[in-house]
């Protein structure tokens, strides 16, 4: 089937569609199925886009930073910090390393212990903030060296908790895409069923059309256009409802974290508009295949 064929099929004089009676439950079934499926597809799409965004953000925000913690008796703390900084300065892949000041450490702790914490009387480990540079930090090598030279140092390169988070977001995105594929497949199956039912119910009409010299492509075309336009209409309504639903979700905020970030952003709003087109394409091919097969069977 060439591009010209498809254009012909879709643009033939619409009066020709009247040869198929416009009523019947298959009409409602197609409208409902494509509407419901489009509605679901909007959410699956929103989910995959949002989780994709989150995966990207987490991966970039958390990569490139690491923390070194020095646990040592107060007397040795300064010396070990100095030794650690020296090691870090000589380590390839460390762009900068800086010991946090007492105030900064207090600020980090105050959400947990309140503002009046007498830091100087408590044995608080010293934190060193590391910013990674090229060619990337060899965390294992650095740990080995620190183990030998700075016994109280513990390196936290954040990968321990970064990776599962990013993985989770990535799987969520994959699940979203798989859902969209499944929705497409289910739509194709349902429309094939509806088209077959419609073709069977109109066997007599097909017989009359053949008697007066209709070719298969004419008969198939009448059914294909019916189902394609119905699917387009149903999916358009379903998509609009789905997008309204997504719009009504709360705005993304820090407090809400992931859940409130589900939605479309910027150019992402254009993507759902493709859903009705996709629905129409699915209906087109499902009906076309069903019709060709049925017409062969009826001859």
């Amino acid at each position: 089937m060439s591009k010209g064929d498809i254009r012909n099929l879709l643009s033939r004089d619409t009066r020709a569609d009247r040869v198929v009676p416009p009523t019947g439950y298959t009409a409602h079934l197609t409208l409902f199925v494509s509407g419901a499926m489009a509605f679901l597809a909007v959410f699956a799409l929103a989910l995959s886009l949002a989780s994709g965004r989150i995966a990207d953000r987490w991966a970039t925000e958390l990569a490139g930073a690491a923390t070194l913690r020095i646990n040592a008796p107060t007397a040795q703390l300064a010396a070990q910090t100095e030794a650690a900084l020296t090691v870090l300065r000589q380590t390839p892949g460390v762009a900068s390393a800086r010991a946090l000041t007492g105030d900064e450490q207090a600020a980090l702790l105050s959400p947990w212990f309140g503002p009046d914490l007498p830091l100087d009387t408590l044995p608080i480990p010293q934190l060193i903030e590391i910013v990674e540079g090229e060619p990337g930090l060899d965390a294992a090598g650095l740990r080995l060296r620190l183990g030998a030279e700075v016994p109280g140092a513990v390196l936290d390169d954040h990968s321990r908790w970064r990776e599962p988070l990013v993985d989770a977001a990535m799987s969520l995105r994959r699940l979203g895409w798989v859902s969209i594929l499944l929705i497409g497949g289910a739509t194709a199956a349902m429309i094939t069923l509806a088209a077959n039912a419609s073709l069977a119910a109109n066997a007599q009409i097909i017989e009359v059309l053949r008697q007066v010299g209709a070719r298969d492509r004419f008969i198939a075309g009448a059914f294909v256009r019916r189902f394609t336009y119905r699917a387009l209409l149903g999916a358009a309504v379903g998509t609009l409802l789905g997008m309204t639903g997504v719009l009504l979700l709360p705005e993304a905020s820090d407090a809400g974290g992931f859940l409130t970030g589900v939605g479309f952003q910027g150019g992402g709003w254009v993507l759902p508009a493709l859903i009705p087109l996709l629905g129409a394409v699915v209906a087109f091919f499902a009906t076309w295949t069903a019709a060709r097969r049925k017409l062969k069977e009826l001859s």
Binding site: D13, P21, P22, V212, G213, R215
Partner: protein, 225 residues
Amino acid sequence: MIELENVSYTYGDGELLSNVSVELQPGSFHFLTGPSGSGKTTLLKLCYGALLPTSGRLSAFDQDISTLDRDQMALLRRRVGVVHQNCQFLDHMTLAENVALPLMVSGRSESSEHGDLTELLSWVGLGTRLDARPPELSGGERQRAALARAVILSPDVVLADEPTGNVDWEMSQRLLRLLIELNRMGKTVLFATHDLSLIRAAKSQIQARVLRISQRKLQLAGADL
């Protein structure tokens, strides 16, 4: 136009037509007669490819009909106008749309031939019933509508299967006259009927051959009619 050579046809176990040979010459007028159940409809169906011969050769427009694919068969149907014994229409469409159906399926614009359509329907006496639905029509009106639909593409051959099956004598005469008129316009006509008085009535108006199916054979009927 249409030529049968030793054509046999068998439904299930019973042979209905046995070694039938006949040629419909261009411009000829044939009656086809025989008792009910003798195979008149079957012979017509063979002629327009709705059935394929069990044996023998049937050619239409110099093409062996058994070699045609579905598309070619559709093109053949456009060259052979058929008035079916139980003429079927699309009940959700108007009479005018039904009669114009062959135009529509062959991709010819209906509107450009709208004048012709009204003229054609007036010719069969249905000029005022353009917007009627087929179920609202009487038996005779349906037969005439079927005739109009059969000839709208100006086919070379017209096959009419009992077009006078359920109409009165007056209307039978009228339909006969329409078919004779088509024949005078150069169409090849095959008219199946078991109404012998109609055939006798036609004899004064037209040179027609009468084919009779009797005991699975096709014979040329003589003066015994």
